[in-house]
């Protein structure tokens, strides 16, 4: 059997790398290694023009307001069209927090100013007054074998609402999720996932990593079934995180003493 290779794009790694989101690249590439899949990671940043359809998996992390503003123009004008094409072609994509918001239709600030997003995900975000922060547990039906839980840490005041063209990533069991009102978290369209999960998102949710890997392989190699790995450590950490979320629900507040 030919060696499987996945071409990974890490978007704005120098600017959008808050809260350990690079852990998602680490988790993805390491798990590919354990599955016997080779990965090639390319960093793409401001002002670089690339054809995103040449990648199998695109990752973009969250960033501070200053960095988000810095990339906003580039994201729209330089990267936007090609990213659209890639998602429509089935390229796998994961966007965290600020990246998730920018992949949506728009972001409305506290003053009512509406900033345009890429409109790849049919979601829009409005600034909110309370900070939605804490450990989060959600249940997702994205997985072929049946519903699975996802754990992480969220920290956002933006409230994201879903339009008809996306499905939520999960239903919130503990935490706030997209907006603290409708019980949804994240959004999925084709093979693109937007989510508020930090933690990082992938390490304690190995089934999510494996799903993204199978998506990433699909265009070039068709349906590939991955060999089973010993995930006992990840599962143990996942369970511990679920318990911790229960213990800390409502007790984690933002801000300064």
């Amino acid at each position: 059997m030919a060696d499987l290779t996945i071409s990974v794009c890490h978007l704005y790694p120098d600017l959008m790398n808050l809260y350990g989101d690079r852990g998602n690249i680490i988790a993805f590439t390491r798990r590919c290694e354990w599955h016997g899949i080779k990965t090639v990671v390319q960093s793409v940043t401001l002002n670089q023009v690339v054809d995103f359809t040449t990648f199998d998996f695109i990752f973009m992390g969250g960033g501070q307001d200053r960095e988000q503003q810095a990339i906003c123009y580039d994201f729209q004008q330089v990267k936007g069209t090609s990213l659209h094409e890639a998602v429509e072609a089935g390229v796998a994509l994961l966007g965290i927090c600020g990246a998730y918001q920018l992949l949506g239709r728009s972001y409305k600030t506290g003053e009512g100013l509406e900033l345009p997003g890429l409109n790849i995900l049919d979601v829009w975000t409005e600034a909110g007054h309370r900070r939605m922060i804490g450990n989060i547990v959600e249940e997702s039906d994205l997985f072929p074998g049946g519903p699975k839980t996802l754990v992480g840490f969220e920290n956002h005041s933006g409230r994201t609402f879903l339009g008809p063209k996306v499905r939520p990533l999960g239903k919130v069991l503990v935490g706030y999720g997209n907006n603290g009102e409708d019980g949804t978290e994240g959004a999925v369209y084709q093979h693109a996932i937007g989510t508020y999960l930090h933690g990082s998102a992938l390490p304690k949710n190995p089934w999510l990593t494996d799903l993204l890997i199978t998506w990433a392989l699909e265009r070039r190699y068709g349906r590939v079934s991955l060999k089973e790995l010993d995930d006992s450590l990840e599962v143990r950490a996942h369970q511990a995180a679920r318990r911790r979320a229960q213990e800390t629900w409502g007790k984690i507040k933002a801000g300064v003493k």
Partner: protein
Amino acid sequence: MDSRGLLAIWVGKVAIGLSRWLGKGGSTFPGRVARRIDPDLLKKLARLPKEGNIMVSGTNGKTTTSRMIASILEAAGKKVVHNRAGANLLVGITTAYLARATWTGQLEVDVGLAEVDEASVPKAARELAPRAITVTNFFRDQLDRYGELEHTFSFIREGLEQLPASGLAILNADDPLVASLAQFSPAPVTFYGLADPSLAQEEEETRDVRFCRQCGERLEYGRTYYAHLGWYHCPRCGFRRPEQDYAARSVRVGSRTTQLEVSTPAGDLETEIAVPGVYNAYNALAAVATTMSLGIAAELVEKGLRNFVTSFGRMERLSMAGHDVFLALVKNPTGFNAVIKTLLTGPEKKNVIIAINDKYADGTDISWLWDVDFERLAAAEDKINFVLASGIRGEDMAVRLKYAGFPVQKLAIENDLKLALEEGLRRAGTGEPLYILPTYTALLEMREIINKMGYGKPFWEE
């Protein structure tokens, strides 16, 4: 001291006595209680030191820099009131000042020295009315507490803006954000930094400050010393690292000590500090710049630094059951990276406990572990016998190491700190060091456990 202040002092002192009798640290509760009785207590006490007060803030190095300054001031024969245990919120500073005060409300000291948590700087400046503020650096620390770097910057700026024209700001020239504070100081500014070409780094570590604060352009570096510290300039507006008044021309870093040669406006000095790491060279420089700018002679500065004893939890060395045990607080990626580098020096095999908690003071979002370069630790696994992952989030730490490439056979999870310590001491080979790397609340708990086992002095006795 007026009657309200006296009452606050008395109640505070009783609270300190009570806390110690109960075996607790008592470094913030007494201050909290005293401030309820007299909210202006610290303001009143801070007027008493004859030579005023010094404030030290920044993300990393506050405690070590303050302790080095204290050591120098003591070598110069000064009496100092100082929150040496590192309780750096207003309640902790108040506790330290009232503990030093007499029952009659006097504070017989020459200088007040306070390490101050960044977000508390504006209020602390209003209460302490410092004559000098030293700022060490800005790193991403616990984002769920402070939000963004810009937010932290504005806190410290607010403090600096309160300096009198006769005061002094002592700033790290090598940190572009710290250097950007200069324009906001109504007092003269003194800069310090490294100037030893042999320390320049090749690899790129996690740099969080990338943009020129004046014009928003990305900064370029001629030389990088440590994370985002180095010789930077803005290609667009010309903002660059300012001239260093205090410059370390030569820094020799060992596994236990560091030797420095520093050029100063008053001549050169040579000294040695009993702590390793480039980050401690910066701390020593900050201490030199602060004390010499305030008039302390170079020989006393040299002596004070040689006398410096590393503080509670900052690569602190203990002896337990025939092993050298090193306690090193870890609270953010840069600090952790520095500890990993230090840990890996020296030929002996290492035994490691990493204790990660996620309470408020530790930072509730443990995602920051993925910004730490554990891959470096994993690459040197042949030097390591085992890593015990402990604390509330021990499982997360274990997963992090697994994905860093650390062999799972050498990895174990024991959330309970006492059990982890016992296992660590049992499994460490004869004469081999045991490194304990805890986050803040885990460090406090670990210290209590160590004390109860009969090793180590309670930190308030140091």
